[in-house]
Amino acid sequence: MSAIRREIPSAILSLIGIALLLAFFTTLGFFQELHGILTSWVPIISGCSVGLGFLYMTYAQWMNYQRNKNLNNLIYLIVPLVFFAIFFGTALFSPGNTNSEAYQWLYYHIYKNVGGTVYAVMFFTLASSAIRTMRLFTRDPTGGFRFRLEAAALMFGGLIYTMRQIPLFQVYIPGIVELGEWIMLVPNVGGGRAAVIAAALGAITVGIRTLWGKERATAEVE
C-alpha cells in the first residue's frame, strides 16, 4: 500500500525527468516524441486544477465569517462571489467570450487599472524602504559614527542610476548619463552574473536530488 502512495509516484517523476534529459542531450527520436507529448499534457493537467483555487478562497472566507459574523466578513464573503459571477457570466454569455466588447470593457477599466495601480503603489513602498536603507552612517552606542560600506554601495548603484533616468538631473549634472550606464553595464553585470551562476548551481542541485527521489517535498509528503 505504501508503494502506491510513495515509491510509484516518485518513480514516475524520475522517469519523466530523465526522459526529458535524454530528449535534450540525444538525438533519439523516441524521446523527442515523448518530450512533445509530455509538454502538451502539462498545461491540461494544470488547467484542470483551476477549480481548487475557487474552492479554497470560498472556504477560507466562509470559515472567517462563521468565526466572526460581522458585516465586514459578510462583505468579504459575498463581494468576490458577485464579481466572480459578473466576470464569468460576461465571458460565458457574450458572443466572442473574452474578446467581446463587454468583457474587454470590464477588463480594461477594472483589471488593467488595478494592475497598473498595484505597480504604481510599489513606487511608494520602494521609496520608503530606500529612505530607510540608504543611510551612510549609523550611530554606535558610544556616540561615534560608523560608515556602512554596503549601504554606500547600494546607494551608489541606486541613486546614480535613478538620477540618470530623471530629465532634470540629465540637464544639470554633466556626465550622469555616462556614469549611470557604466554602473548598469559594468559593476552591475559583474555582481549579477555571479549571483545568477550561483543560483543556477543551487537549482540544478535541487533538480538532481529530486530526480534521485531524495527531495522531501516530492518524495516523502503524501
Binding site: W62, S129, L201
Partner: protein, 261 residues
C-alpha cells in the same frame, strides 16, 4: 547520438551527478559531518516565531504570487520554498503559533502545499492544530495576490513574515507592508532581479543562492546537507572553466567556438 551543441552542458551535468553520487554515499557514514558556514537569517526564524507567540500574532508564509511553478525552469525554487514551509510549520506547531500560508496563484501547486503543511503538523505530533482555512488563495496574477496578502497583514497583524520562493513584482508591497505593520521580515529569492527588494525591506535576508543552502541547513538531514557541498563543487568547476577560458583565449584559441560545443 549526442546532440551537437550540448557537449559542455552534458559535461557539467555529469560532474554534478557524479558529485551527488559521491556525497550521497558518504552520508551512509554516521560519523561524517561537513563544515558549513553559519547563515544568520536562520536563527532569526526561530526568534521570529517566538516573538509571534509572545505577542499573540500569527506567522505568515508567502512563496510569491507565482511561486507555485511546478513545470517551469523555476521548479527548484518552489521545492526550496516548500522545504522552508515544512520547517516553519513544524516550528509553529511546536510553539503553538498560528501559521497563515499565502498560496501562489498556480492552482496545480495547491495539493503539494497542503500536503506539506499537513504532514508537518502530523510530524510535530499536533495534527489537530492544522486549519485548512489558513491556506489562502487570492486569484490569478500578482496584483490580486499583493492586495490579498496586504489585507491579511492588516486584518490579522504580523508577527513573523517569512517570504521565500519565486517573486516577481509582488514583493515590494507585501514586504514593506509587513514591515510597516511591525512584523519581522525574513526572506529571499533565487531571482536576482528581485533580491534588491528583500535586501532593502527585510530584517534578515537570504541573498540569491543562500536560499538553497539555508533550506539544506534547516532540514538537518544529511542528504539535504550534501546539496551545499555539491553546489560548492559546481562553483569550483565554474572557476576552472573561467580560468581555462581566460588562458586559452590569451593563447589565441577561439573561446567563442569552444564554449559553444
Amino acid at each position: 547520438m549526442i546532440k551537437t551543441g550540448t557537449y559542455l552542458d552534458l559535461l557539467l551535468f555529469l560532474v554534478m551527478v557524479a558529485t551527488t553520487y559521491y556525497y550521497f554515499s558518504k552520508t551512509k557514514d554516521p560519523e561524517w559531518k561537513p563544515f558549513i558556514r553559519h547563515i544568520p537569517a536562520l536563527d532569526a526564524i526561530k526568534e521570529g516565531v517566538g516573538k509571534s507567540v509572545e505577542e499573540n500574532k500569527p506567522v505568515h508564509f508567502a512563496m510569491g504570487a507565482s511561486g507555485g511553478q511546478l513545470y517551469s525552469t523555476l521548479v527548484s525554487m518552489t521545492l526550496t520554498a516548500l522545504a522552508f514551509l515544512r520547517y516553519l510549520a513544524i516550528m509553529c506547531a511546536e510553539y503553538g503559533a498560528r501559521l497563515i500560508v499565502h498560496m501562489p496563484y498556480q492552482t496545480e501547486s495547491i495539493p503539494i502545499i497542503e500536503g506539506t503543511v499537513r504532514e508537518a503538523y502530523a510530524f510535530a505530533g499536533k495534527p489537530e492544530l492544522y486549519r485548512r482555512e489558513d491556506l489562502r488563495y487570492y486569484g490569478y496574477g500578482s496584483l490580486t495576490w499583493t492586495q490579498g496578502v496586504t489585507a491579511s497583514y492588516a486584518e490579522e497583524d504580523v508577527g513573523l513574515n517569512l517570504s521565500v520562493g519565486i517573486f516577481y513584482s509582488d514583493c515590494p508591497i507585501s514586504l514593506e507592508m509587513a514591515h510597516i505593520m511591525g512584523g519581522m521580515n525574513i526572506g529571499g529569492t533565487g531571482r536576482w532581479i528581485m533580491v534588491y527588494a528583500f535586501a532593502m525591506m527585510c530584517d534578515y535576508v537570504f541573498l540569491g543562492e543562500e536560499i538553497y543552502a539555508a533550506a539544506a541547513q534547516i532540514s538537518k538531514d544529511p542528504i539535504m546537507l550534501t546539496g551545499i557541498l555539491i553546489e560548492e563543487v559546481g562553483k569550483f568547476f565554474t572557476y576552472i572553466m573561467l580560468f581555462l577560458g581566460l588562458v586559452l583565449n590569451a593563447v589565441g584559441v577561439n573561446v567563442d567556438v569552444l564554449f559553444s560545443l
